[in-house]
Amino acid sequence: MAKLHVSTTINGEPQEFLCDADQSMLDVLRGPLGLTGAKEGCGTGDCGACTITLNGRIVCSCLMLAAEAEGQQIGTIEGMAGEELHPLQQKFLESAALQCGICTPGVLMAAKALLEKNPDPTEHEVRFWLAGNLCRCTGYDKIIRAVMDTAADMRAAR
């Protein structure tokens, strides 16, 4: 079957690619586009390691068809930092909110989307928002604290 041609925007930059009709967005990101920050932990939408944003909403890129990116805005971990790290990235480093780091890109993408929607989340809200991002190393303690501390810093900076 012929490949599909897709025109999309990734991290604010126009991007074109060819894909199979049944190919996942994760496959295209990690393969031809070389954006390996999104990780495949399960391929079934259960672990959140492949979390990206589609028009600002978080999705598991393993469950999204690459062809669905046509005309849409995609955000990946590679677009999170500018010249400086995003406050969440900086806080994760300061708080040791990562150990092996394989879940970290997905957790950061989800946490960033949360703070854009809700700048003052409760612990309960953070825990339920991040419930789709499995972390096996940290027990989540330092992750939850880092997200809440970042939210507080960002509110204070406003």
Partner: protein
Amino acid sequence: MTTNTPDTANDNKWIGKRTIRPDGADKVTGRAAYAADTTMPGMIWGKVLRSPHPHARIKSIDTSKAEVHPGVKAVMTAKDIVNFPIEKSVMLGIQDMRWMCRNVMAREKALFAGHPVAAVAATTEKIAAEACKLIVVEYEVLPFVIDVEEAMKPEAPILHDFIRFKDKPSNIAGTLEHRLGDIGEGFAKADIVIERSFRTQPVHQGYIEPHACLVSVSDGKATVWSSSQGQFMVRAMCAYLTGLPQNDIRAIPAEIGGGFGGKTIIYLEPLALILAKKSGRPVKMTMSRAEVFHASGPTSGSYSTVKLGATRDGKLVAAQGTFCLQAGALPGSPIRGAAGCAFAPYDIPNVHSFGYDVVSNRSKVAAYRAPGAPIGAYAVECVMDEVAEALKMDPLDFRLKNAAKQGTKAAHGPVYPRIGFVETIEEARKHAHYTTPLPKAGKGMLYGRGVASGFWFNAGGESSAQVNINEDGTVVVITGHPDIGGSRAATANITAELLGIDYKKVSVLIGDTSVIGFSNLTGGSRVTYASAMVVTQSTERVITQLRERAAKIWKIDPDAVVWENGEARPAGDNAGKFEPLSLGQIAAQASATGGPIGAGQQLNTMGAEGGFATHVCDVEVDPDLGIVRVLRYTAVQDVGRAIHPSYVEGQIQGGAAQGIGWALSEEYIFNKDGKLDNPSFLDYRMPVSSDLPMLDSVILEIPNPKHPQGVRGVGEVPLVPPLAAISNAVYDALGRRFYSLPMSPPKVLATMDMAAE
């Protein structure tokens, strides 16, 4: 909100500080390269064909159709792997190559559903998967056995004809025994004797990164990029299984996305190497999550019986334990951890601890965080709770009364040097968690509190390090251990402390097998312990050189130079008057004073000492839904010395979370066909963030006298107490004891229904 332990820096500048890990920025920006993130020009993809049967003789394998399928570049079977005859043991560390060669690919028989039988390399993943379906395997299906108790019965299907127990074919592949005193005499003195049996299910390490590797073979020399807990283990096992000499294999450690013991052996690497050799192309292989569940890890399921005897005044006088552990398809379950650690926290004069290593038709177990110890502690610590209750003693007071201390002879061998177990109990007892009353039952909810303690051996072993001073006075440290959770930061803290320089001037790299000397696995809670020793000795040698260089510049005796706060200074007025020379100033003149400055050290590190912990857990039980929720959790642990407190806390918290999963929700469920029914993160239920509270970690520092910084090791002890702590808490809430894990909602409801009837 709970709080964490503050900095433990004391007078130190860097040791005990919460520095930012050297590899951190790459990991928060998605740049860190894990095994599946690497590609090579001309790379093709490997896929594994796996047995659908839990037990079957392989009569023939016909790969001819797959070989001619368009896009296929190579096909392999067990014939391509070095065959280690079944009669003769070939040990590499604790792994026997007889088993390893049969685990990576089935030889005479397929021994579990998911056992590899062939592998294909093709230009795309899709073609490789299609070609696997073209391989025709003729099986003679055999009866199978999964459960450990079933497998031990005389009438059980036998996996291996060569395994004999008491002169008969058996699935009991080995035993281990520890004896102290005379338990007959001990139990005769007891006023209270309680004996109980316990069952646990196999649980998976659950690392989020599936196994992956990329192998290139060029001019007969192989380069292996893979996610493992030891590049030297990868090199050695690949050499054994492929027949290549070690100098023709370079193993490069990718960043590792979690291991917890599960990546201390290899699965894909030798297959990819053989496929790469046959095809002449670099071959990449990754496991799907389902393959990870079916065919890698987990730890043993178990059946244990523990009997404790105590006098009326609360002194333990005798202990007996039998621990039967599933090894999976090939021998090697962690009975040493189960039988050895079970009674280790206590001073008991009469002990008999016995372990059975039992094969059955499921994937071969791999190490999982304090392998075996949580299984042993679960049984012992639950019976401890019952004995304390029978004695009408507080469970922590009962543990304190019997706690092992310096001079206690442990059943597994050692007489303890200075250990910190008593301190963990005392700290737990006065902790705000333990002194705060539980919520009162209400709104249909029931509440309970449980405690448990635990022990792990910790480990030393071989490590290598090299410390080099750059021309600008910055420092590069190379060690040989994959950094699984922040060990680079600990290494940088130690080096900066000893040299008296800014932490940011120290880079820490993990060397591949061609760059740094042999270093044993990242495992056994040994990395910070052992690398601290070789890094310390290397840095001390560097400091000696720095003093010599300063002496040369000043034209005085090296003994008249001291190294303080990152500078060489004259030792006193007699040495002469000179302005101090900084590391940067000495480095800039290195060529003129004798050449590059640097030193390495390689050791088989000794003196690792055991670690102890005591955990307190509060649960809320919904008796209508059977849901157990952990409301509050506190883990107190003697770590010896916390080189980087944040990552020490992280180990403790992560271990506790895995224990909560093991206790409440995780289990391998096999169907009637002997296949795993829940090979996904949806159905194999690990804790998610909304399942857990904050996990309070309390670090105690009772230094290990045999270590330059006092380190004991951290990572494994935290998984030892949780199973029993949670079980005891559920009892406290429901007034009903569970003797089997996980305490999942259906099981809780069934037990409650039984109680109602």
